[in-house]
Amino acid sequence: MAYKAKQVIRGAAHVYGDNIDTDRIIPGKYTKTLDLSHLADHVLEDLDPTFRDRVQPGDILVAGDNFGCGSSREQAPLALKEAGVSVVVASYFARIFFRNAINIGLPVVEIGRHTIADGTQLEVDLARGEVRDLSAEQTYAAAPLPDIMLAILDAGGLVRYLQITGDYGDS
């Protein structure tokens, strides 16, 4: 499922810490595949072996600083998306993960330091750039995305974006 920039996403938060690297999102030994269900089967395996069985479609992954640091493997956001994660919220992201997620149509939102608790219900409003913690009644402002990223997310990812536009246009 692709989420568009206009959409408001609601879901339960799974909260993890800082510097979650791509090896912990999907270990390198599982990345050589085009079978996305194989990726989802091993998502976050070395971080939280229970996550795969607990995650429900639409749930929201929440992390601290520098989420997705390490390798360029697009299999990391693909594994999360295939497992049912609807959006990833973090203080901030490592840059390749951030780009990869937008490119495959997985929304990512940067909100700086936060106190979101595990299991809490969140509402993510991509268009307004807001993350609302419904349990704590707190709202976090999201860092704005460049126009080109919003356009890619709106199209449902970079594949669809280029199907429509055919090219990036000029500088």
């Binding site: 090896d23 050589k32 901030y92």
Partner: protein, 413 residues
């Protein structure tokens, strides 16, 4: 307002003057994908409606991450890459054993000073050693580049690092970059370009410059750019230097004269300590390889330690040269014989053990000392192993002693 090296290169490609934080759409001079990233990129390229790669001569595919294929699933992905290369008439397709992608791009001149290069691998900033703006991307970004010959990017802010003083004998670019990763932190340069200059850089070989540039990925940087001062290449090129009035996010001056051997301890490459703090730590496995440290000068450094010695009986040592060309040079000059007689096992040039794919997965609770760039939990294929990162000479000495040791402290032969 002057320009950093990154701003100069992007301005030249964008056809207008740009500064940090602007968005630019730029033509690229080259693109590369590996067997981890190419299959998804090929799939996305087809889904985008791609028929021909924008410029076959500028596109390279490399089978290095799981080479030779360890199972039928990966063998079929390799087959997909071979078929795509044949169908697209890609002149630069590198099959198993050719070497590690980043080494091949530099060794074969696919990337040159002043270029903008996209690589579907996070250690692509390695080409900053040439003064190229080289960025790691994922498969779909690469597919878009294969289709359009362009990419969009945000012009990065630059952190400038000036290396002054003189390295002590035996202390290498690896010790410098480990110390810098330790000081700046795993996210210390996120989204930024890291520019290196200064007299230490001016004296560095291309291989050592590649070590510096390679591990900016471990600070979260978008790319590295090393001043071309003192750079010696076997083809003519226009040097690139930053303007004296360029604007930097931060400037660090680091006098390397007192630097000692550095080691990253489990489970993060920014957990860096002087070797003396972990000396005596027993190890089970030693690995010299990867896009960080497996070039000829690295194999020479290991051989200098291992000549006339043998690795400890309860240690296994794995070595993989960065490319077939380097392996052949090391074969001709006797380095391979020295390492083999000391008990090292050789595997096909590639990435395997570093990325935990195959050929050298450690067992539970085993400790590994490695010349690579990452020691995240599970990195080498087993989340219950512990990985220490060091320079090739320290890895070799540690293999002999069976415990972490300064090469200078090995008993006289």
């Amino acid at each position: 307002m002057g320009h950093t090296i990154a701003e100069k290169i992007i301005s030249r490609h964008a056809g207008r003057l740009v500064h940090a934080a602007e968005i630019a759409i730029v033509p690229i001079d080259g693109a590369m994908a590996t067997d981890t990233t190419a299959p998804l990129a090929i799939k996305a390229f087809h889904e985008m409606g791609g028929r021909r790669v924008w410029d076959a001569g500028k596109m390279a595919l490399v089978i290095d991450h799981a080479a030779p294929a360890p199972n039928e699933r990966i063998a079929n992905l390799h087959q997909m890459m071979r078929e795509f290369s044949a169908e697209q008439h890609l002149p630069h397709f590198y099959d198993i054993g050719s070497g590690i992608c980043h080494q091949l791009m530099v060794e074969n001149g696919h990337v040159r000073p002043g270029d903008i290069f996209l690589g579907a691998d996070s250690h692509t900033p390695t080409y900053g050693a040439l003064g190229a703006f080289a960025v790691g991307v994922g498969s779909t970004d690469l597919a878009a580049a294969m289709l359009t010959g362009k990419t969009w990017l945000k012009v990065p802010h630059t952190i400038k690092i000036v290396l002054e003083g003189t390295l002590r004998p035996g202390i290498t670019a690896k010790d410098v970059i480990l110390r810098l990763v330790g000081d700046l932190g795993i996210a210390g340069a996120t989204y930024d370009a890291v520019e290196f200059t200064g007299p230490v850089v001016a004296r560095m070989t291309l291989a050592s410059r590649m070590v510096l540039a390679n591990m900016v990925a471990e600070m979260g940087a978008k790319t590295a750019l090393i001043d071309t001062i003192g750079l010696d290449l076997d083809y003519p090129f226009d040097p690139i230097h930053p303007d004296p009035d360029a604007v930097y996010k931060a400037v660090y001056t680091f006098d390397v004269s007192e630097l000692t051997h550095q080691i990253a301890v489990p489970h993060s490459p920014d957990s860096v300590v002087p070797l003396t703090q972990v000396a005596g730590q027993p190890i089970a496995m030693a690995f010299i390889g990867s896009c960080t440290n497996s070039r000829l000068e690295d194999l020479h450094a290991a051989a200098a330690v291992l000549r006339g010695r043998h690795i400890a009986p309860d240690v296994r040592m794995i070595v993989t040269a960065a490319s077939r060309k380097i392996f052949n040079e090391a074969l001709r000059d006797g380095t391979i014989a020295t390492l083999s007689e000391a008990g090292a096992s050789f595997i096909t040039s590639g990435c395997g053990p570093c990325v935990g794919t195959h050929q050298g997965v450690p067992g539970d609770d085993e400790v590994v000392i490695s010349s690579t760039n990452r020691n995240f939990r599970g990195r080498m294929g087993n989340p219950n192993a512990r990985i220490f990162l060091a320079s090739p000479a320290v890895v070799a000495a540690t293999a002999v002693a069976g415990r972490i040791i300064d090469p200078a402290d090995l008993q006289a032969r």
